[in-house]
Symmetry: C2
Subunit: 170 residues, 2 copies
């Protein structure tokens, strides 16, 4: 399957000049969705790890099916105020602003091996924040996988100490 | 497995007097997560339907794995301003306020059979909004499945014209 052509480009979202890669056209197409998830699973299925971490909200859509398929737990990273129990926090640099991300303080045990999954690698700012949260809890980030990588934003350079994988590159 | 005891109760979240059912303790436990997803899948695996719809954000975590496992597409319903393409909207009555929900106008084709999946049935307000969006696009809601049902809030009464299933009842 040519998965790349299944993504929709939405110009000027969320602001002028941005060519936004819309994953929903992949998600709603059962064959493209299966192919996308299988491709992500292929990247990590032979790795030794304990748990999948995915950030709100699109990281939930790509992370949870992989966790289920590989019989791992799933840990959500959320925006401030959404997680009900005790959390640790990190400031989160968006491409288009600043926010705070949280993880439950008991979500990961010290020494657990973690794979971070998200829909898209842009500048890498979100992922750096995710790594900080995981590592503050004593987790070891073994791999990071994305459905889409925007190569021209060079996010991979920020993550050069980690094993980074992506399924589709723009 | 006694899945019910795997949920964490967080008192006074998001406001005083609420006994919040925290699903993250189920998600992060690989055996509980698998059991929870398998139990949801069991409810609908023999049904005739085309696509899974799940609302932001926890509906993504429970809906996407089911869509993947049953080889269906997944359609996200999101808060206002998050979906990049053309949408239709509905006002959304939260248990604790009001918000707007959106779905892409081409997410569901007229006549498609839809299963709505969410983590929790409380008053049913969110689900009524989800149904409105699906039906405005011509979709047919065949079943609605929840991981958790708060029976004392009687959300099921609002949904008496639909096939409602839940895995765990509080």
């Amino acid at each position: 399957m040519n998965l790349k052509e299944k993504f929709r480009h939405v110009m000027d979202f969320p602001k002028e000049g941005i060519d936004f890669i819309d994953i929903t056209t992949v998600l709603q197409d059962k064959d493209a969705f299966k192919y996308a998830m299988d491709s992500l699973i292929e990247k990590i299925k032979d790795k030794d790890f304990d748990i999948i971490v995915g950030p709100e909200s699109r990281g939930f859509i790509v992370g949870a099916p992989i966790a289920y398929a590989l019989n791992k737990g799933f840990v959500p990273i959320r925006k401030k105020g959404k997680l009900p129990y005790k959390t640790i926090q990190v400031e989160y640099e968006l491409e288009y602003g600043v926010d705070v991300l949280e993880i439950h303080e008991d979500a990961i045990k010290s020494g657990q091996k973690v794979v971070i999954v998200d829909d898209l690698l842009a500048t890498g700012g979100t992922t750096i924040s995710n790594i900080k949260l995981v590592e503050q809890l004593g987790g070891i980030v073994t791999d990071i996988v994305y459905l889409v990588e925007l190569e021209f934003l060079k996010g991979r350079e920020k993550l050069k100490n980690y094993n980074v994988h992506s399924v589709v590159k723009f």
